[in-house]
Symmetry: C2
DNA sequence: GGCACGTGGGCGAAGGCTTGG
DNA sequence: GCCAAGCCTTCGCCCACGTGC
């Protein structure tokens, strides 16, 4: 509605209207102490009347701060990364930061460097990395872009902070639950082994089994997709070497359940299945899936805690670990 | 590794090293024609040696362009919006733009205004809106922030461009498929009626039925979630008034399938089910879901076409419609 | 006059220094 | 010496104008 030809008001305009210098207006905006109450009120009135908003470009030119957090992410169409992003965005905007994103279509060093350069061109104040590949950390370490970095899903390093859900603990919860039910032959459908979580969950599974004196020799590797879960499920339905399967995520579990259903293998009567993630749909699988819940939004928010600490207080790198939680539904039961 | 104390090089530094004026460097960077080949090469060498990158803040201060697109989104953890965002991001970054996001946790006028103000503070060059609520368009119309806006999932208006998948067409495809199979009692599980797509799919369903001379009286409304699909499915399993159900999205279909499974209603033998979206998992439901595919990434990319046209050529508002596609799997068959 | 290049001013805000009470 | 408020320079870049050949 408003004429967009009219130049936007700037400090000077506010100052004129309030009958003070632009400097005083600047003080009011930035909450400097030495401004009289009367003057402050006059200035605030002028700001409101003109609808003044300060120019970010000019501000960051002189402060060398962009008030922007870059989020480098891959697999954003998946439940986990998407929700982590949401947590980051919420915390960032609440803290007065803008959130700039760069999505990686394929994950490799060049793509990561590209995205980081993209962010540096934008003078971001910090970078949150949601790229759950093992390769990421080493790529970041060798880059060192001069701004704080928080890597989600990793323990971080001496140059990079980390925030993660305790994956091994999650795997332990799943395996412990199965053991409790009386299972002793417990297989694992792992995620890709170039993913941090894929490795960690497999290790957790293996450790938990060995601690219980059970064999950890039934390991199959998928690619997180329902399709790979289905393919693996078809094999397992034929071999029937385990009475319980701990699956690396819920999507592969979905595929597994369908393969079992097709093959006439009943869940949980013949085989128990535990997933990982607890997506909103998992409670409506056939049967409803017992799984390990991760609070991704919380993870994202905690990331920003680390980030803000680093940017505003110069905190050194550190790590935050969020606990996972077992959600028991109907895909697990005692073995026949 | 590099000393981050050392000030970043600026135009002046490059100029000095190349033995020219800062102006000539600027010309080289901006591909102005009147620069001799020799000079251009010297300058490019200097840029490379110093690792010069131009300062975005300074640039946008004077050009009044931020090279940033704001993406206002809700439901980002869902498959559709997330993939639309990915398409936008890809096209934007390819075109040299930064992508800033603001996610809405709850959709209402205030939240929308808030986010738009957030973007204006950042001086974005344009705003892409991925908020599939009917309320969105009117809120945008009344705001008119002075930059181009593209609203995904709507036809736009005289102040706002639109890019959408043809929802009615998608509903027609689904219904036509069921009619072809011989169904005449075809129900619909709709999405919330304050969502553009929820309404459009219901209208498409209704139109297609009436054109075929069939009744459109079996309409139930869910909230897009698997849970609501489950609840509705339990009712339908008891009533058994239809031989086929067109469901507003794949998640509600999942819930419906489970309710039917529990109640002993066989799909597709007793009831056929068609979904909408074609998420990656839908092919692994029990049974694999016949559904209507939307290409969200393409939609996002096309959005940016409109946006870039508006920003760079001052194109007036317009609309892009993307065609949906029916994917036939095993949840549909002729009625018994 | 056209091409290759340089000079000076200004974009809007912030901060150090200053003056007046 | 304390508080309120103003002046001037600075950030890095682009643009409208030069100038000289």
């Amino acid at each position: 509605m408003a004429k967009s030809n009219a130049r936007l008001p700037r400090l000077e305009d506010v100052a004129e209207r309030a009958g003070v210098s632009h400097q005083t207006v600047s003080r009011v905006i930035n909450n400097h102490p030495n401004v009289s109450k009367r003057t402050r009120e006059r200035v605030e009135a002028a700001i409101a009347e003109l609808g003044y908003r300060r120019n970010t470009a000019a501000r960051s030119l002189v402060t060398r701060r962009s008030q922007t957090i870059g989020v480098l992410a891959s697999e954003l169409s998946q439940y986990g990364p998407a929700n982590t992003l949401l947590g980051v965005e919420q915390a960032a905007r609440d803290a007065g930061y803008f959130v700039s994103i760069a999505a990686l279509r394929t994950v490799n060093r060049d793509a990561i460097f590209d995205a980081i350069r993209h962010f540096l061109d934008q003078s971001v104040d910090g970078i949150v990395v949601i790229v759950p590949h093992a390769e990421t950390l080493s790529a970041l370490a060798e880059q060192s872009p001069g701004v704080p970095i928080v890597a989600v899903g990793s323990l971080g390093s001496d140059t990079v902070s980390g925030a993660m859900v305790d994956q091994k603990r999650g795997a332990e919860l799943a395996v412990a639950h199965l053991i409790e039910q009386g299972h002793s032959r417990i297989g694992h459908v792992a995620g890709p082994q170039d993913w941090i979580d894929g490795v960690a969950r497999a290790e957790g599974w293996s450790m938990a089994l060995r601690e219980a004196g059970l064999a950890d020799d039934l390991l199959l590797v998928g690619d997180w997709s329902a399709g790979s879960g289905y393919d693996i499920g078809r094999k397992l339905a034929v071999e029937r070497t385990a009475t319980a399967i701990f699956v690396g995520n819920d999507q592969m579990s979905l595929g597994l359940l369908r393969a079992f259903n097709e093959a006439g293998v009943r869940v949980p009567e013949d085989v128990s299945v535990v997933g990982f993630d607890d997506q909103p749909e998992s409670g409506y699988f056939i049967p409803p899936l017992t799984t390990v819940r991760q609070d991704f939004e919380e993870l994202g928010r905690r990331c920003m805690d680390l980030m803000l600490g680093a940017i505003e207080n110069g905190d050194t790198t550190s790590t935050i670990v969020v606990e996972p939680e077992l959600v028991v539904r109907r895909s697990t039961a005692a073995p026949a």
